[in-house]
Amino acid sequence: MDFIGAYAPAHLKFLLEGFAVTLKVAFISILFSFAIGIVIGVLRYSRIPFVSHILAIGVETIRNLPLLLIIFFTYFALPEIGFKLDKFYAAILALVIFESAMLSEIVRSGLNSIEKGQIEAARSSGLTYTQTLWHIVLPQALRRMVPPIVGQFISLLKDTSLAVVIALPELMNHAQIINGRNVNYVIPIFLLVAIMYFIVNYSLSLISRRLEHKHL
């Protein structure tokens, strides 16, 4: 093992560049997944006939597939039917598809956790269904959803590493490039990469725990 050679300044810089891509992809993906997840979650909660059935089938299918397969799909299979994306967008699209499905389930169960009595009370005081949903149910549910949503974000950040299979220049890809230089770098580099992921993800989980205590 060669810690000194592995941790050469140029290598560290190279890893940080990779991590910047990881964070960027993860951040863009979570923004879109969050928005889409809320829409799907609310639509399924509202039990609009037909729409919610179609969504249920879609969400269940995606939730039951490996993310890796979805990444291969958006990158290798979509061009075959004329939908062409470069690897950056293909990775984001795959993550958004997968995480939207996961987040929509969090949103739906968050909404379901609001007592029905509140909804009835709001409706009987003259609010429409949409008003009730928007002003009464959603704000409360969102607060309860904070911990699982942060948990999902942590998953997403970790899952970004799967884009190594399409050679997206993120952290794992850069780590593997350095590892290719010398076998003695492998363990030190993996250790450092693990610590990088750990620091960010653990901080996120600490924040989430603090929020949880505040609200419950």
Binding site: N64, L68, K158
Partner: protein, 217 residues
Amino acid sequence: MLNYSILIEHWDMYTQGFANTLKASVLALIGSLAIGTVMAVFRIAPIRPLNWIGAAYVEFIRNIPLILIVFVFFVGLPAIGIRFDSFTAGTLGLTVYTAAFIAEVIRAGILSVPKGQMEAARSSGLTYLQAMWYIILPQAIKIVIPPMGNQFINLVKNSSVLGVIAGLDLMYFGDLISSETFVTFDVYIFVAIFYLLLTIPLSLGVGALERRLARSR
């Protein structure tokens, strides 16, 4: 329409991959149940150093990517002379990763059993381990079965990382078929169907269990 001749021509590869995916998932489930239970008990045992080990394991592993752990087993450990073939390395990586999540599920289950029961068991003369084994764990198991089912579904999906290290699973063979035939869309759709054959029944089962548990409460 889908090109079924690809499925028929490569049937052996699909089924071999499917069998290995199933095998890796089951082996990793057994292994991670064992490690996970130990870590969960570590975290709540009244011995400080054990608490630390349990917490360190769970927090560290949960916050790093699975593929990194798999790479460590596949190309990291051989650097210090410990070597596993691709399937074993992948399955071990899956085991270590999943164990951290299972530990949390089991811990939550144990903590949901009222504290008084442990005290009562202890005061009736059982040791800590006996009380845990005969009184607390059996009750905890009932509560943890649905979340455990979810972990198993995740495990089946996560086993696809074996494909990255040539682990001979469904993902690996699917990918191989697509790069040999230059057909991607249809090949991956068939791969997806094979995964769904495993995960959908599991999901339905977990859902049914959850509903039953909700009623019995």
